[in-house]
């Protein structure tokens, strides 16, 4: 994946790049998050796993500053967010979408790079140069997701939040996606991503956080999760089996 040549200054220093303390959030009286603590260290890759409705999207959007928590606090800056569902104008072309967001980010002072140049770079990054004129609505889901992610990368964030980034991508595209995300990580960007693909979590994340019913119930490496299940007398095997056993053991 040598073609991803993002110019970035690696971050140095210790401490979390992004942290949430005791974050709670309710929707119409229903608790989506109940006092969650979460942090991403500088240059760290964290996977967020948990059942549907566990609160992953809610947590990520609060971390991204898009939603306000009811209580608790979030610290960190230079955070970019790639939404679960592609946030793109389907009637506009790939280039037009990229150009719009490049201009908005430029005007908002999030990047000093000239919008046209940014678009050229992003088209190269996503490998969609030959489809630049196509309307986004005519692209496959995977290609839409690539444009979606490219927009999140524009500002050169120090923390990148990806909500189920690889949904709908074929294995080759998934590998390609992780190729350039890890490229960013290599240059100092921290990444937190949610996924239902446990294998993906194990393969790319240094640390796994399990969320269930609005609570953070585990944080550690994949091996630590397996061990925790084995200690409780649960089944040994792949991570997915351990993950399910871990959830069941806690009533989820």
């Amino acid at each position: 994946m040598g073609r991803f040549n993002l110019v970035q200054t690696p971050l140095t220093g210790t401490g979390p790049a992004l942290a949430a303390r005791g974050v709670s959030k309710s929707f119409d009286g229903r608790k989506a998050l109940r006092g969650v603590d979460f942090e991403v260290g500088t240059g760290e890759v964290v996977a967020l796993i948990g059942p549907n409705g566990a609160g992953k999207t809610t947590l990520l959007s609060i971390l991204a500053g898009i939603a306000e928590p009811d209580s608790g606090e979030v610290t960190g800056n230079g955070v970019a967010w790639v939404p679960q569902q592609a946030a793109l104008y389907r009637r506009l072309g790939v280039r037009e979408n990229l150009l719009l967001f490049a201009r908005l980010q430029h005007d908002a002072g999030q990047t000093g790079e000239a919008p046209e140049q940014m678009v050229t770079r992003m088209l190269e990054l996503t490998g969609l140069g030959d489809r630049a004129g196509d309307q986004v609505g005519t692209l496959s889901g995977g290609n839409q997701q690539r444009v979606n992610i490219a927009i999140g990368l524009m500002a050169g964030p120090s923390v990148l939040l990806l909500d189920e980034p690889s949904v709908g991508l074929d294995p080759a595209q998934r590998e390609r996606l992780w190729g350039f995300v890890l490229g960013l990580v290599g240059e100092g960007t921290a990444v937190a991503f949610s996924t239902h693909d446990i294998q993906e979590a194990e393969r790319y994340a240094e640390r796994i956080v399990v969320v269930a019913e609005g609570e953070g119930i585990f944080s550690g490496t994949a091996d630590a999760l397996r061990q925790a299940v084995e200690v409780e007398g649960g089944p040994a095997g792949d991570l997915e089996t351990s993950f399910l056993a871990y959830l069941r053991g806690r009533g989820h």
Binding site: S61, R90, R91, L100, F101
Partner: protein, 447 residues
Amino acid sequence: MRWLLLKDLQILKRSPLQLTLLILYPIVIALLVGFAMTRDQDQTKVALYNAMPAGEPLGFGGEEVDGNEIRDQLCGRVDCVEADSTADAKKMVESGEATAAVIVPEDLGDKIRSLASLNPESPEIQIIVNGSDAVESRVTDDRIEAMLGEANLLLAKRLSEGAKEYLDLILQGGEFDLLGQQIEVLGLKRSEQILKQIEPKLPPGTDREQLGRAVRFAHLATDNLDLAGPLLTAITEPIKAEKVEVGDDAPSLDTFAIGVTVAFALMFVTVLLVAGSLALEKEENAFTRLTAGLVSRGQILVSKVGLGTVVGFVVALILLTGLGLFVGIEWGRAPYWLLALIFGAAAFSAGGAALGAAAREVRAATLAAVMICLPVALLSLVPDDAVGPVIETAINLVSAIFPFRPTLDAITGGLEISGPTLWLPLLHLVILTAAYGALARLALRRF
């Protein structure tokens, strides 16, 4: 923010159906309404009851106007149906046989003659309109106004000829025929000359002083045309119509029809576009991305209202220009009606934004837009006298909180000098724009 507007215009350009509708809609409407308005012209029937003795000459100043001549003028523009009495004429209106009745009173001749006397009285004719039919009565008002205009023009011409003759007589002097007797009138100018000639011949003293005053008076009077004052005011509008049904400063029918057509088109185009376009931001998920540090909710709102104002204004302008091919539009008043279009478009846009922000879904927003716009606009057209006072108040309230009626008032006021005042509806629209803008902003919090 300009990027947001540019993006919306790009999206519009990419939506062939929407774009075609936006261009074709005003053109088709203009054609339809234009044809309908030009065809409607000769369908109005007016019952005429002439109580004035037939063939009575209305002589003054040597000029004569026949009563029949006035009638011919009145009936030149519409089909007249002769009625035998006032009651008969009323019946014709009630039954719908005629859209209006014109009653020429017995003493019209006397009153017209009095215009040329020192005690002018206003000649009046009575007009009976069927008040239960707002559009019809507007049609009739318009036609009768035109007829009266022509009759007045004729009278004014004759009267001013008479007036001029009187004036000349008083100023220059000459022969005057009074009840068959020739009277010599000296005239002010000649009086002044004669007096001036006499003045130096008199010995200084009271008599000479008196004479000097007379000379000055004659001079002053000659210069002053005010003597003809009552006559001259009478000729500006000799016949006054006493309308039995009077609408409050109703614009003429053509203007009203243009106003309704343009206001409807403006409303639908703008509300649908803005409501749909704002809801699309949510549907495309773009709203969260945009508000994640790129632009504020307020900026998104302003760009949407801007989009609706620009597009609505252009569509209304195409429509109005198209209508201009069929009916007279006062291009000289363009600054006024352009203002009306802009303010109306802005108010509808703000309303559309509130709707789109509340609906959050393109389909729901579009449906709600149609379901709200149509009845509210139609309600605004219900004539006050067609319903009871309670319903009337309710209708007025609904009309006041929706931009349709003020837009209609502003457009008709902009088109026609005699229409409703322009500034009040414009102020009303500004208030509505602000109110709906605030509502939309509030709804965007939970978008």
